[in-house]
Symmetry: D3
């Protein structure tokens, strides 16, 4: 099983480190993709090395896409449109997409929220609704392959739901 | 003539200081409103004292509403819903509303963009469009009382349009 | 099951946030204790609220003691000697003590390393050895109730071992 | 009409951004000159790209010289003596020189204050007086071509006086 | 023997810590005076506790006045005019006054440089000269009771000269 | 006479600057050695240029070894083992070794504390004792060639003892 995390400078620190280590603990291979494969720095200051550039990541090699929050998702909209394409492709393949906090902004850009239930940080609730979703104010909202959460305190419930979904499906490329 | 600027911590520094001093230079009284009337600190670090709390500001006392960008508009969505009400009231009275960059997020929250032309920072273009507006990628977009711009380099064109509109109308309360 | 995390300002950020959220995900109640029950700030900048003062924590109410690293363990040596007492009491009761990185400094202070196998950040290897332990350079070293790791990249192996141990024992106070 | 702003690292942020955008709004071409044409960072943190090196700027191509304050003027004394020469040349040609706050330090270095009225930040009042000027504690002091102000709150009065003077004179090179 | 150091926020760190510890090592009592007796923070970040408020310091109780540089001397001009009075009183009593770097700005304010030889940081050379002094570009300049230096690298020569002078005179109040 | 200071990023600022300037004032040549001869930055932010790489420093060319504290000594344990070798060589030659605060960690690594009296920052007292030393809680502890102190306030007593020892011995290489 392989997970792909897409982010860039300004990520909410624990929203990246938690799934990054947690998915490894669960036995998944975890790859961190950034716009040019460069190291990135979180909103608070955590530095993380990347494994690949976002444009080099193919949906068919991964079983899960993770989108941490912070300022990174808005930055990705401008710095790496391929991140938006990846969201669209994972959704088209019905593979799990896990976003937390502002990570939902990438789902908005990919136009995959129409008619879905989802959550995210409260300050972008109106943007999530304008994208066609029903905003649910719960710690983790699962709508088929979309697994969304609101903020760091939701990390336990979010990862628990993510792993439940991942373990229920066959591995991708291997 | 009186102008009201609404903002909070995280404002884009020059997007607040420029209209703050420029409107004074043009002879307007300028009041800075923050959630509780507290001093605020910009994204880069500029500190500004406030004149009043947002909840104490009445639309009928002002001729112009200014919404600087940065992280402040998203913060206002959670910290001071009265800022959203003010946008709605200024629009209902057909008084000028000038937003720059992420300031457009307050216009989204107030639901005043349906069928209008507007602009804002490129990373929230999809959110502006989902709110029903036609996004125009120009330095300053004027749609009746809505005067919107994209980022600090648009400040000269934006303020020029703002003052043109303000000077064409009768003063509010005086 | 209840876990107690003891730390103070200067903790290594992910070494606190990872067990904090991970143990919750596993269903444990997690309490964060700081010298006076105050909020603390990590080495990088993460802010965490505390649940209680270290002096108010009793070993008999918890099933697990967690000691994150960073500058916090050395600070605890001076700010909260009760943290050292807690390590001694958990060890006397053969309850699991999980330290990572500089967290081992609290085990040195408690004098529980004599004749044990343990690990920690490489820069304090000599101090761990001088305390009587055999330093093992592996991602996670389990010696009965002592579960030690070296640095953030060891978090997955460390938490996996911690949970294995915790789930194998009867709950403490409940 | 063309304006030249001379500064370097440590400029008082709004004392650079305000005239930079305001003069553009008034229709002037604005060029920002730094010691080697490098980008500069303000005292608070604003980053500004430069248009040219100070040593490449000729007085006869500009109609106005602007000297923002902060730590930059003292730095210029050591980093770019040509900035001092420019002040002397603008004064010899009776072209407007607009300084605010510590910007007056460059006027001291150029020895153009003898027998003039001027103002500046209060902490360098004695240095302005020792240079032969009469210090006037007003928001904007105009003595022929010297237009000086004290601190950011004087920006509206200062720019108003600057533009009045600039618009009253024929353009330089065009 | 007693030494008085006068400073405030923004002092050049080593220009305060070096004389502070060095004079103690030489056996002097050292008192640190700040505007209101508050703790102060250096330009780089060193925090120092004060012993008294500047307004509570009497020249007749001390044998030596030390004025570190950085931004502190300019701040003192506005925050604590009594610091300027102290310089004048120490000079009137022919007691040693030791300034380094921008510390000379306090000597300018006290108007004690007329006809004297002195040095200071190069960026204020013109201000020192305009105050009537002959600027000497050497690591330490001694003109009777005035002992001035340019920047941190001059600390050894400066303190050596300061102690030579102090040890040659009878103690003040004791 | 020549002194060698070994340190790296994270040094306690005044614990480096004080001996650095003080030994120069006493007439010694002072060389600052860092892992690769690079400039280093203190815990608070002081920047210092280096004279040589630690691996290029030979004990037989110096009369004194100085080890400032802060985070630097622990960093040196990993970044420059030659620093540990130098401590061992200076001790074997009975040349003075002066450490302050966490500088004692380098003495622990060099295994020179067995049966000696020493001091250091209180938070590493247990580590100093586990290394075989008798911890003495005084401002300066002299045990033959080992001259140790606890923290910045001990700098005067420490340097006084260091110079007394240095001046009592013949010069090294000259």
């Amino acid at each position: 099983m392989k997970a792909l995390i897409v982010t860039t400078d300004g990520f909410e620190d624990s929203e990246l480190t938690y799934p990054y280590y947690r998915l490894q603990e669960a036995g998944l291979d975890v790859a961190l993709a950034t716009p040019a494969g460069e190291s990135v720095v979180g909103k608070i200051g955590e530095e993380m090395d990347a494994d690949l550039a976002i444009s080099d990541a193919s949906e068919d090699e991964y079983d899960l896409l993770v989108v941490p929050g912070g300022h990174a998702p808005e930055n990705l909209r401008l710095e790496a449109e391929e991140a938006v394409d990846l969201v669209r492709e994972f959704d088209a393949s019905d593979k799990p997409i896990a976003s937390v906090c502002h990570g939902a902004q990438l789902l908005i850009s990919a136009d995959v929220l129409e008619g879905r239930e989802a959550t995210g940080y409260w300050s972008i609730r109106v943007d999530i609704e304008n994208a066609g979703a029903t905003f649910v104010d719960e710690e983790c909202v699962v709508d088929d392959n979309l697994i969304t959460a609101r903020y760091p305190d939701d990390l336990p419930a979010w990862l628990s739901a993510v792993l439940e979904r991942v373990e229920a499906q066959p591995a991708a490329a291997d």
